[in-house]
């Protein structure tokens, strides 16, 4: 197992370099360092000298990938790509164009992102699995039929609608919760309730339908018939046997996203004023802050790779037939 994990981690290095290179290429195809400088310096009184000074200050005065004027290894190391990318492999993200330390920002913003994403995942899983199992329990009855119809309706509605409707009814019309904002400590509970509620409801349709499909596949298997023949109640059959055997596809979907929970949700954070990493990424893209965009893409890729490794490990944990070599 240890050797497998180490091998997977080593595979990650070329993947991360490739992702970095791709991000770099995509970013600089549409943005030159001059464009970045102009955006940062504003629209007024920007002189060519000011642009040059900004580029020097932020390390964008060098060639992009290859420094033909340098000698030896400096041809590759004295470039924008190397100067801005090498340190990331030891998680030194440097500073954003606004001068703020990116590592500090990530550490500060992970908490708020997790405060929303973790309860949404856990409560969402519980609600979706329970709802799916109930539909399976009442399969081929009017409850199953209307449950599926409800799921399709819920799936068909835009996520933004849930947010706006949630804010309008719960916070504005009924005055039950703050419409947006965030706070630390116990007071923060009031602020996360609404986004969590909205996100969970928005996810019921697709989640419950997906799990229903999984459970329906399981319910026709021999071991279920055997369990019933042993005289077990339907509840025990569903929650003890079907749920356990349906865990592999569920884990595939859940474990892989676990590390990505840190990255936050783009729209939810923006609408509810949650100072998480999702809104950080959006802001950076809008501000053409390459340092932050690059750091967030790197972090996202790294966490995704970790998620995939965790998924593999969880397979072997849930299904003893799977062995990692």
């Amino acid at each position: 197992m240890g050797a497998y994990i180490l091998r997977r981690l080593l595979y990650a290095i070329p993947i991360l370099i490739g992702v970095n290179l791709l991000t770099f290429a995509l970013f600089f195809v549409v943005n030159t360092p001059d464009d970045m400088a102009r955006l940062q310096l504003g629209a007024k009184h920007v002189t060519p000298e000011a642009i040059e000074r900004w580029k020097v200050e932020h390390g964008y005065d060098k060639p992009l990938l290859l420094n033909a004027e340098a000698k030896g290894s400096e041809q590759f190391t004295d470039t924008i790509f190397f100067k801005h990318s090498a340190a990331m492999f030891v998680f030194e993200f440097g500073k954003g164009d606004d001068g703020r330390d990116i590592g500090n920002e990530i550490r500060t913003r992970m908490g708020p992102s997790l405060a929303i994403a973790l309860p949404v995942l856990v409560i969402g899983l519980m609600v979706n699995i329970t709802f799916a199992l109930l539909m399976v329990f009442f399969r081929a009855t009017y409850l199953d039929l209307w449950g599926v119809v409800l799921c399709v309706v819920l799936m068909s509605i835009s996520g933004l609608f849930y947010i706006i409707a949630g804010q309008y009814f719960i916070a504005k019309l009924w005055n039950l919760l703050p419409i947006s904002g965030f706070a630390g400590g116990i007071d923060g509970f009031r602020f996360i309730l609404l986004p969590v509620l909205v996100s969970v409801v928005a996810g019921i349709g697709s989640g419950a339908r997906w799990y229903r499909t999984i459970f329906l596949e399981e319910i026709g298997r021999d071991y279920v018939r055997t369990a019933r023949a042993k005289g077990l109640s339907e509840v025990r059959v569903l929650f003890r046997h079907v749920l356990k055997n349906g865990m592999i596809p569920i884990l595939t979907g859940v474990v892989v996203v676990l590390p990505l929970l840190f990255m936050g949700s783009l729209i939810t954070e923006s609408f509810f004023g949650i100072p998480g990493l999702g809104s950080y990424t959006i802001d950076a893209i809008q501000a053409q802050d390459f340092a932050v965009v690059r750091a967030m893409v790197f972090l996202g890729s790294f966490l995704y790779i970790i998620g995939l490794i965790l998924t593999d490990i969880s397979y072997s944990w849930v299904d003893p037939r799977v062995r990692l070599q």
């Binding site: 009184h45 590592g103 919760l177 109640s233």
Partner: protein, 716 residues
């Protein structure tokens, strides 16, 4: 009930009641309910709070309250008037010739080699409390020799146990002027100021050289002399300006020229500080009425009253209108009038608007989505609040911004550019065809005034009414300004060589290209409207949508034909708008602000004369001549002067739009008791939906439970 269920319910009830009094949707801690705190929001986090760098309005909103330049704009007087802030008086320049000999005040600009401003600061002004000033009993600075280990665990300024203050001195102002040239600060006005302040350009070059040789070294600004800024005595400093630059006085009212104490720079330059975002760019140190008590630009920023503020009082001189509006009720009272201001990050307009209506924000702008809910127009076209707003005692505050939007013609373009009569007529025809009166009505909800020239209302040089109309686009009918009919545009177009929109020589249709950054569904209707305007003349308009960078690139290289652009005033002087048409500031070739690349020698000559003149009939005459030239040449379609609409609650007082001043927070007064009473009245929780939800759940679950039991029994 299971144990987990009990804990969840307990948590829910705790969470719902924690931190608030009666309103469940209260976004602030209960302890702040009756506090003399002003609540506002910001939609985009500021990038820089260093006074050498901050320029955009969302940055100056904070730095304007913390830093104090020597001058400020009078809060109530119109037209805008500069008054002293930390200075003892508004300085008047002394003029010197090339030999350094004094010249009279009315000396011709060409004879003036230097303008000298002596600025005397009032003694006794003190900085906000800050650890950078903290000293021990022996007079040594406590926090000027910290290691990274000492800084570990400190994430905000308040984490430092000791703080101190000191008196503001003239050297702090000189220090800041030198900072404008600092290579690592990239001050947006360095380029402009280096043309005016003696020696600033050379200072920048010297610093750049040292910074290149020693990239990691912290530059000691005292090692770099600056001829154009020097300390005369403890409370007086001198600025030397090349030639005559009367507009310089306005810059002295901006945070760029506010003082920065050297102690702050030494403090923040220590190891480990920048990694924790403890920098002057994020943790300002000033003498203003407020200091930055909490700086979390991802969530909220809090300004608190500076305990050392120097006792400035509310202005006593206003006009009768101000008195009638209650703007003199606090005359003579010490400023600031609120103890703190809390700015929350609110990126989306819907929650911002909802919180304003709930009373959780004291004031608000009006987004397009909520405009109809807030404002209606009378039969005379005047805006007024809707009944629902008036019922809440909400007040409308309007002002014409010192800004201008225009459609520029690239004067280097072979089709629309040039100063020939045919081209003039072509541009005049297009100016008539673009009906911006209609545009304002459709797309701006009436929030704008059709522009008659480059100078917006409120600035010297602007002439109101029919006397100030653009005769090439408008005409006076029955004492009112009316746009010329489309027939006039068609006639001009024919005279320009395009009868019925076709080239008279080749018969080819006239096709024009409009470059814009606007895109998406919102912009589509506006762009369709633009095409429709030229359809009236049978001229085709091709819209070339592009992103910000490409658009800037096209303008810089002169590759655009028609484009939309705008300008916000830096200061209330016509020079700040007319320089946008000055030939020597052409975008192509010089990288200046003249995006249309307009270059009329007569206009240039008049501009050079006008910029150095004092306001008066003679200057007005020159400006009128310039306006005539520019209206005739029509390098721009003068689109509109935007009008800002804002709302405030009845508990907010002393609100008068001042489009030049950025330090007006100190004048605001609120009535916290009234606010809290209204918040409670407006935010009573409605609980029946919860009961209904529980009933609905029971209605759904009960048959399911019954069916389940039946199923179980059947199985058994």
């Amino acid at each position: 009930m299971t144990r987990a269920g009990t804990i969840l319910l307990l948590g829910l009830s705790l969470g719902l009641t924690a931190g608030c009094s009666d309103s469940l949707n209260h976004p602030y801690p209960g302890s702040e309910a009756d506090a003399n705190v002003l609540y506002s929001a910001f939609s985009e986090r500021p990038k820089h709070l260093d006074p050498a760098r901050s320029y955009s309005s969302n940055e100056v909103e904070f730095t304007g309250q913390i830093y104090e330049p020597p001058l400020q704009y009078h809060f109530l007087k119109r037209p805008y008037e500069l008054i002293p802030l930390t200075a003892e008086a508004v300085p008047t320049p002394r003029y010197l010739d090339a030999a350094g000999k004094p010249l009279p005040d009315d000396a011709p600009a060409a004879a003036i080699a230097e303008s000298v401003y002596d600025i005397r600061i009032r003694p006794g002004i003190r900085y906000q409390p800050h650890p950078a000033f903290a000293q021990d009993a022996a007079g040594r600075y406590r926090y000027h020799a910290l290691s990274a280990t000492d800084v570990a665990g400190k994430i905000r300024i308040g984490d430092f146990e000791h703080s101190g203050t000191r008196e503001l001195v003239a050297a702090d102002y000189v220090y800041q002027i030198k900072r404008l040239a600092h290579p690592s600060l990239s001050s947006p006005i360095f380029g402009l100021m280096s043309e005016h302040i003696v020696g600033l350009k050379e200072l920048g070059e010297a610093m750049q050289q040292v910074a290149k040789a020693q990239p990691d070294a912290v530059l000691n600004l005292d090692d770099f002399p600056l001829a154009g800024a020097e300390v005369v005595d403890r409370h007086t400093y001198r600025i030397r300006i090349r030639g005559k630059y009367p507009q310089f006085i306005y810059w002295l009212a901006m945070p760029f020229f506010a003082p920065v104490p050297w102690e702050a720079e030494v403090f923040y330059a220590q190891p480990g500080m920048a990694d924790r975002n403890l920098t002057l760019d994020w943790q300002p140190v000033g003498t203003g009425p407020f200091y930055m008590a909490e700086n979390d630009p991802n969530r909220r920023m809090v300004l608190k009253k500076n305990p050392h503020y120097h006792g400035e009082t509310y202005p006593v001189d206003g006009n009768d209108e101000d008195r009638a509006a209650g703007l003199l009720a606090d005359a003579g009272k010490p400023l600031p009038l609120v103890d703190a201001a809390v700015y929350s990050l609110e990126k989306e307009t819907i929650p911002y608007w909802s919180k304003f209506l709930q009373g959780y924000y004291d004031s608000s702008g009006i987004s397009s989505d909520s405009f109809d809910q807030a404002v209606q127009f009378t039969s005379g076209g005047d805006p007024q609040l809707t009944d629902s707003m008036r019922d809440k005692d909400i007040h409308l505050v309007t002002a014409v911004a010192a800004s201008l939007w225009y459609v520029g013609f690239n004067m280097l373009d072979p089709v629309v550019g040039g100063l020939g009569e045919d081209r003039q007529k072509l541009r005049q025809a297009l100016s008539i065809a673009f009906d911006y009166d209609e545009f304002i009505s459709i797309f701006l909800n009436g929030r704008g005034i059709p522009a008659q020239g480059p100078i917006p209302p409120g600035l010297f040089g602007y002439v109101d009414g029919v006397d100030g109309l653009n005769p090439y686009v408008y005409e006076a009918r029955d004492g009112a300004i009316q746009r010329r009919p489309v027939e006039a545009a068609r006639k001009l177009l024919a005279e320009a060589g395009y009868p019925n929109g076709r080239n008279a020589k080749t018969g080819e249709p006239l096709v024009l290209y409009f470059d814009t950054m606007a895109s998406g569904p919102d912009a589509k209707s506006r762009l369709d409207w633009m095409k429709k305007q030229l359809d009236k003349l049978n001229v085709q308009l091709v819209v070339r949508g592009t992103d910000y960078n490409r658009f800037q690139d096209k303008i810089r290289k002169g590759n655009a034909q028609l484009f939309e652009w705008g300008w916000n005033a830096d200061y209330p002087d016509p020079e700040n708008f007319l320089f946008l048409l000055y030939g020597l500031h052409k975008k192509v070739g010089t990288g200046g602000e003249n995006a249309a690349n307009y270059d009329n020698p007569e206009f240039n000559r008049l501009f050079e004369r006008m910029k150095d003149m004092d306001n008066g009939p003679e200057r007005q005459q020159v400006i009128d001549a310039m306006l005539e030239i520019v209206r005739r040449d029509a390098p721009w379609i003068f689109a509109y002067y935007p009008k800002s609409f804002g709302l405030r609650h009845g508990w907010v007082h002393n609100v008068k739009p001042n489009l030049m001043a950025n330090n007006t927070l100190k004048y605001r007064r609120i009535d916290p008791a009234l606010r809290e009473a209204r918040r409670e009245a407006w935010n009573q929780p409605v609980l029946w939906p919860i009961a209904l939800l529980i009933a609905a759940l029971v209605a759904v679950i009960a048959p399911a439970a019954i069916a389940w039991r039946r199923h179980e029994r059947k199985t058994a």
